[in-house]
């Protein structure tokens, strides 16, 4: 640990972020558990940004290969996570069809 002055601000930010994550979903109804899990699954797709930087700064072929894998996996996390969440939530948006004879 060489430079602690850069680590501490990040730790404080992480603590606040943990609190935010906890509070934001603390009163969620059971009905929304699945979409919320899927939605948070999408949000950690931000890993794609890190993967892009890792591949972008990679120099050796091995680093490039693993970096490429990271980008592929991260991109799948992003689009797949988005589409799954969107499709689940679409169900909540559907206009109610009046049943026959009602």
């Amino acid at each position: 640990m060489t430079d602690l002055s850069t680590v501490w601000p990040a730790v404080y930010i992480a603590m606040l972020a943990a609190f935010t994550g906890y509070v934001v979903i603390s009163r969620v109804p059971v009905m929304l558990h699945t979409p919320l899990m899927s939605g948070s699954n999408f949000i950690h797709g931000i890993v794609l940004v890190g993967a892009m930087v890792a591949l972008g700064l990679a120099t050796t072929p091995l680093e490039q290969a693993i970096g490429f894998l990271a980008v592929v996996l991260g991109a799948a996390n992003v689009t797949g996570g988005y589409v799954v969440t969107e499709r689940i939530l679409e169900m909540f948006h559907r206009p109610r069809r009046p049943g026959p004879g009602v």
Binding site: N41, H44, I46, L55, G67, G74, A76, V84
Partner: protein
Amino acid sequence: MVDPQLVIEPVYLATVFFFIIGLYRMSNPLTARSGIVWAGAAMLLATVVTFLTPGLGNIGLIGIGIAVGGGLGYLAAKRVAMTDMPQMVAIYNGMGGGAAASISAVELLAGTAANTAVLAVAGGLIGSISFSGSLIAFLKLQGWMRQKPITYSAQQVVNIVVLLLAGFFGALVLTNSGVVPLPVRLFLPLFFLLALLFGLLMTLPIGGADMPVVISLFNALTGLAVAFDGFAIGNYAMIVAGVIVGAAGSLLTLVMARAMNRSIPSVLFGAFGATDEVGGAVTGSLKSIEADDVAVMLAYASKVIIAPGYGMAVAQAQQKVKELSDLLESRGTPVKFAIHPVAGRMPGHMNVLLAEAGVGYEHLFDRDEINPEFTGTDVVLVIGANDVVNPAAHRQGSPLFGMPILDVELAKNVIVLKRGQGRGFAGIENDLFYRDNTRLLYGDAQESVGKIVQALKKL
């Protein structure tokens, strides 16, 4: 020229802000749909500005990677049936974990500074576990692998040894010391292999019924891995988004486990359903019934409750069930749907499946609302549900003891639509089926409900 960082950092900041807004909106049914759109737009923006990163090479490779991964992820997610959503969440979560582990690998290969290498090792360890664990969860839910817990003797000892070895090689990667007679360049691959192996081993003994909890746990772990990588490469957007998912995912895991009356340690180490139930032998006999008789029963009922389970969704019977409920309503018989919190594969999954078939929310009632109503109900149709209606949950000593269930056995008549004489997801005998007021209608749920509808129309 403007310093690219003056563009990138504010955009990352806005991205994180809209992630939080998006999650917040997703926690309310009325705004949920817009929540994912906000988060999606923010993600798109963050991806675009990342191309401006100073010194970024391999732009072509990055573009191809995004096109390939994004395209496959998009197509698979578009095509999959709503019933299969839980395993899709698992697989995409695993990919996020794999991406985090790969970033760590690149950072460690490139030989970053010592103080960030620790964080990269942590991210690599957690990301790898989440990756291989999620793959097993996917295979089990998809039915490409035995859903029953896979156990062997001294399993937990083996798991702990593998985890400790992974940690040991992680430490060797950091110190590059020659404590073991192996070339230094083998440390890194061994570290990742052991971490991947641990994720695989820890998921094998977990049965299908507990998978939602485990997927949620891996989701939280991936968030944590992303946060560690964010620390390692100095990306605040990754730190904040990762930690938020880690915290929200942990809370969600606890809430889900509570809804299923399971504790996290018993999920992870319990091998639920692996052992035979002790005590509580079933009495009585199985009594079957034909669709025509069910139709007659329904025709003269003054109140009907439908308790759907995952079996209904597997048989794609939602549309037929909706038709049946409409038919009964048009004859003046009120129909209510009793939704157990974990009916389907995940909390809320059944609501989604019924909504897809067009059953309005005003017909859906959760367990606490509907349980007092069973006593005065003439007919309860249990369609493809088993564990969530198993009265064994009220009996001490049963593995299900204490799990909140739908008290369907209190109704005057219980009709259970079943494919065969198999047990539920938890692998436990259900004495509801042997009760005097229970009749079993065997066959494919879609076909059976169709027959009931036809017979009812003739009456």
